[in-house]
C-alpha cells in the first residue's frame, strides 16, 4: 500500500512537486535561521565572556552595584588569597584577575607636551606570565596587526583604529591619564608594543591592553583587581553549572553586611544580557511556531487545490466502495512522504547555506561600529547536530496539518451524488 502511494506521488508530479517545494523552502528557511541565530548568540556570549564578564565573575558587592561605572575605588583587594581559594574550590574553571578602567591616552610631542589625546577603555590583564590564559581568552596573538606582543612591564597593546587616529606607531611612548582607586588623577608612561584588531567593535574603537601589574601600579591598586573572571575549560558557557558554583560561592564567602565582601555572578546576570538571551533562546521556538502555522495554511491551500484536481479520482474511489476513512488516511500517508521529502531537501539546502556562512561569515562591521555590545564584526552561522533535525518537525507537521484540514472535504462528498457527478 505504502509503495503504491509512493509510486503514485513520484509518477504524478502534479500531486507532489509543488507541496515538496513549499515544504523544502520553509524547512530551508527554518534550518538557516536557527543556525544563524545560534551563531550570533554564541558569538555574543563568547565575546561578552572573553572581553567583559567571563563565564562567572567575582567582584565586591559594592562594585557589583555600580559595575557599569567601572568603580575601581570599590575593587577587590588581597586578590592573591581569593584567587587561591577560587582555584582550589572550583577547579572546573580557570580564574584570572582583571582591572577594567577608563582614561585618556596622551601623546607627547618632541618637547614632551601634549600633541594628541583620546579617551580609551583599558584592560589590565595577566599578560606577562608564561602560563597566562589571557593570550588565548582574548585571542591576542591572532589579533596583532603591527609590532610585537608585550614582553616586559611598561608595554601595552592598543587598538589599531586608535593608533591610526592618534598617528602613533609601535615603539612610541604614551602617557595614560586615569584615576587611582582613591580618586586621584594618575599618570603612567607606557611604550606601545603593538597594535591589535579583535573584530569586536567596542574593543577595536578605543581599547588598550596592559599588564595587570602595570595597571595596579598606575591606579594604586596593589594586590587589587576590579574583577576575577572564571572560564570553563571548554570555553563554553554552562549556565546550570555556573549557577550552582555561583550559589555555592556566595553562600560560603559573601556577606550581605559587608559591601566589600566578594560576590559572584554569572555571565547572564553580570553582563545585563539576561533579557536579550532569554528572547534569543526562545526565538527558535517562535520561528518554528510561525513556520508551522504559515506552512500549514499554505499547504492547506495546496491540498485544496490538489483535491480539486483529484476531485474525480477521489469520487471514483468512493464510488467503487473505498471507505472515506481509508481515502483520508491514504492522503495522510501521502502527506507524510511529501513532508519527509521536503524536509530532507530543505535541510540539505539550509545546512549547505549555513555551513557556507559558518566558514566565511557575514561582515556586519558597518552596522556595529558604534555598538557597545561585545559582538563580533563577523557573524557566522553555527551548524550543530540539532540543525539537522530541527527542520523535520515543522516540515512534517505542517504538511500533515495541511493535508488533514483540506482532506476533511472527503467526508463531505455525498455518495448518492457520486455517479451523477461521474456521468457529467
Amino acid at each position: 500500500m505504502i509503495e503504491f502511494l509512493f509510486k503514485g506521488l513520484v509518477r504524478d508530479r502534479s500531486r507532489s512537486l509543488f507541496p515538496v517545494l513549499i515544504v523544502a523552502a520553509g524547512v530551508m528557511l527554518t534550518v538557516f535561521l536557527q543556525s544563524w541565530l545560534n551563531g550570533a548568540l554564541s558569538s555574543l556570549i563568547q565575546s561578552t565572556a572573553h572581553y567583559r564578564t567571563g563565564h562567572v565573575c567575582v567582584m565586591t558587592r559594592a562594585y557589583n552595584e555600580k559595575a557599569d561605572q567601572l568603580p575601581n575605588d570599590l575593587a577587590l583587594l588581597g586578590i592573591d588569597t581569593l584567587l587561591t581559594t577560587l582555584r582550589g574550590q572550583y577547579p572546573d574553571l580557570f580564574w584570572t584577575p582583571r582591572i577594567t578602567f577608563g582614561g585618556l591616552l596622551d601623546i607627547p610631542d618632541e618637547k614632551g607636551e601634549t600633541k594628541e589625546q583620546a579617551p580609551v577603555s583599558g584592560m589590565g590583564v595577566d599578560l606577562l606570565a608564561s602560563d597566562s590564559p589571557e593570550w588565548k581568552v582574548l585571542n591576542i596573538r591572532p589579533a596583532l596587526v603591527q609590532g610585537h606582543l608585550p614582553k616586559q612591564q611598561g608595554e601595552i597593546l592598543i587598538a589599531e583604529a586608535l593608533a591610526g587616529k592618534l598617528h602613533i606607531q609601535p615603539g612610541q611612548k604614551v602617557t595614560l591619564i586615569s584615576s587611582t582607586m582613591y580618586g586621584s588623577m594618575t599618570y603612567y608612561n607606557f611604550t606601545i608594543a603593538g597594535t591589535v584588531r579583535f573584530g569586536v567593535a567596542p574593543m577595536d574603537r578605543s581599547a588598550i591592553i596592559a599588564d595587570l601589574n602595570d595597571i595596579q601600579q598606575a591606579l594604586d591598586m596593589q594586590h587589587g583587581a576590579g574583577e576575577i573572571v572564571g572560564f570553563f575549560h571548554d570555553d563554553l558557557y554552562h549556565e546550570d553549572r555556573a549557577n550552582v558554583i555561583t550559589e555555592d560561592f556566595n553562600t560560603r564567602s559573601s556577606k550581605s553586611s559587608d559591601k566589600f565582601s566578594p560576590i559572584m555572578g554569572t555571565l547572564r546576570t553580570v553582563s545585563g544580557l539576561a533579557d536579550y538571551l532569554d528572547f534569543a533562546s526562545s526565538f527558535s521556538g517562535i520561528i518554528l511556531t510561525v513556520f508551522v502555522v504559515v506552512m500549514s495554511i499554505v499547504l492547506w491551500n495546496a491540498g485544496l487545490t490538489g483535491s480539486l484536481r483529484r476531485y474525480g479520482e477521489i469520487g471514483l474511489r468512493l464510488a467503487i466502495g473505498e471507505e472515506t476513512g481509508h481515502v483520508y488516511r491514504s492522503m495522510m500517508v501521502e502527506s507524510l512522504f511529501i513532508g519527509i521529502a521536503g524536509s530532507i531537501a530543505g535541510t540539505a539546502i539550509g545546512v549547505a547555506i549555513a555551513y557556507y556562512l559558518q566558514v566565511h561569515g557575514f561582515d556586519i562591521g558597518s552596522m556595529t561600529k558604534n555598538s557597545t555590545m561585545m559582538i563580533s564584526d563577523v557573524i557566522r552561522a553555527q551548524v550543530e547536530p540539532s540543525t539537522f533535525a530541527i527542520g523535520f518537525l515543522p516540515g512534517i507537521l505542517a504538511t500533515f496539518l495541511g493535508a488533514a484540514i483540506s482532506g476533511i472535504g472527503i467526508y463531505k462528498r455525498q455518495t448518492s451524488q457520486l455517479f451523477k457527478e461521474l456521468e457529467t
Binding site: 575605588d73 596622551d106 601634549t114 584615576s179 587611582t180 582613591y182 586621584s184 588623577m185 599618570y187 608612561n189
Partner: protein, 251 residues
C-alpha cells in the same frame, strides 16, 4: 557668588577677613559679598595645608605647599603621600597644568578632566579653576539670619549670573562680624545639592580672619568628606617670578 569653592580660594587663599568697618544690620547681599571679597584676598601668599580625605576604605592625608599670586595664579607642590610627592600644579588664569615626576610629563588639565577629583578629595579641578571672586559670578540676596558654630550669620542666596558655571546657585552663611564664609551649600541647576562646605575653625592672622579648618563634602560621593587644614600662612610674601611658569614645574 562665583567662588567655587572659596574652597581653594577660601581655603588656599585661606581667606582673610579683616578689621574693616562693620556693615549695618540691613546690608544688602551684594554689599556683604563685596565685604567678604575685599577681606578675603591678599596679593601674595604662601600656604602650607593638609587635606585629610575620608574615603570609603579609610583616610588619606595629602600635604601641599602653595604659592599664590593674586587669585588667578597659583603654583602648588604636593609634599605627601610618598606616591604623590613632587607632583606639581600650575594655574595661570584659566589654564591648569600638572607635572608628575614619575612620568616627567607636563599635562594640561582641560575639558572633562577638570571634573576629576583633586587627589581623590571632594574638590574637583573645576572647583580650583573657578573665579574665587563671588560677586563676579553670582548675584546675592539676604534670605535670613542664623547662628552657625556659635556665630551670628547672614544667610545669602546666590544665583549665577552666567550659564556656563559649575554651580547654578549657592546658599552661604556669612559671619556678621568677621565676614568669613562659615558654611556653604552648592546646588546644580536642577536644585540638587552637590557639595557642602563647613568652616570649623577660624583664626586671625595679620588682621585677616582665616578659615583654618574646613570640611568639604561632595554629596554625590560616598565617604566622609575632605577636611582641609591650613597649617601655615605667610601673607604678602615675596614669591619669585619664575614659579609662575611651566618651566618651574620640572624643577
Amino acid at each position: 557668588m562665583r567662588r567655587m569653592f572659596w574652597l581653594i580660594a577660601v581655603l588656599l587663599s585661606s581667606v582673610c577677613y579683616a578689621q574693616t568697618p562693620r556693615l549695618p544690620q540691613s546690608a544688602s547681599g551684594e554689599e556683604i559679598l563685596k565685604k567678604v571679597d575685599l577681606n578675603m584676598f591678599s596679593e601674595n601668599k604662601i600656604i602650607e595645608s593638609r587635606m585629610v580625605i575620608h574615603g570609603e576604605r579609610g583616610s588619606r592625608t595629602v600635604e601641599t605647599k602653595s604659592w599664590q599670586r593674586s587669585t588667578r595664579e597659583t603654583f602648588s607642590e604636593f609634599l605627601a603621600p610618598a606616591r604623590d610627592k613632587g607632583t606639581k600644579m600650575l594655574k595661570l588664569q584659566d589654564m591648569l597644568w600638572t607635572y608628575s615626576p614619575s612620568t616627567d610629563r607636563i599635562i594640561l588639565i582641560s575639558g572633562h578632566m577638570l571634573r576629576q577629583s583633586v587627589m581623590g578629595s571632594d574638590l574637583s579641578y573645576e572647583d580650583m579653576m573657578e573665579d574665587p571672586h563671588l560677586p563676579n559670578l553670582y548675584s546675592a540676596k539676604v534670605s535670613s539670619e542664623e547662628t552657625v558654630v556659635g556665630r551670628s550669620c547672614w544667610v545669602l542666596d546666590l544665583t549665577a549670573k552666567k550659564e556656563d558655571i559649575a554651580y547654578n546657585s549657592r546658599k552661604a552663611w556669612i559671619d556678621k562680624t568677621r565676614y568669613v564664609l562659615l558654611k556653604e551649600n552648592l546646588y546644580a541647576k536642577s536644585g540638587k545639592l552637590l557639595k557642602t562646605m563647613e568652616v570649623r575653625e577660624v583664626t586671625e592672622i595679620q588682621n585677616h580672619w582665616i578659615a583654618k579648618s574646613i570640611l568639604y563634602k561632595d554629596v554625590l560621593k560616598e565617604g566622609g568628606g575632605t577636611e582641609f587644614f591650613v597649617d601655615s600662612v605667610i601673607l604678602d610674601a615675596t614669591i619669585p617670578e619664575y614659579l609662575f611658569s611651566k618651566a618651574a614645574l620640572k624643577k
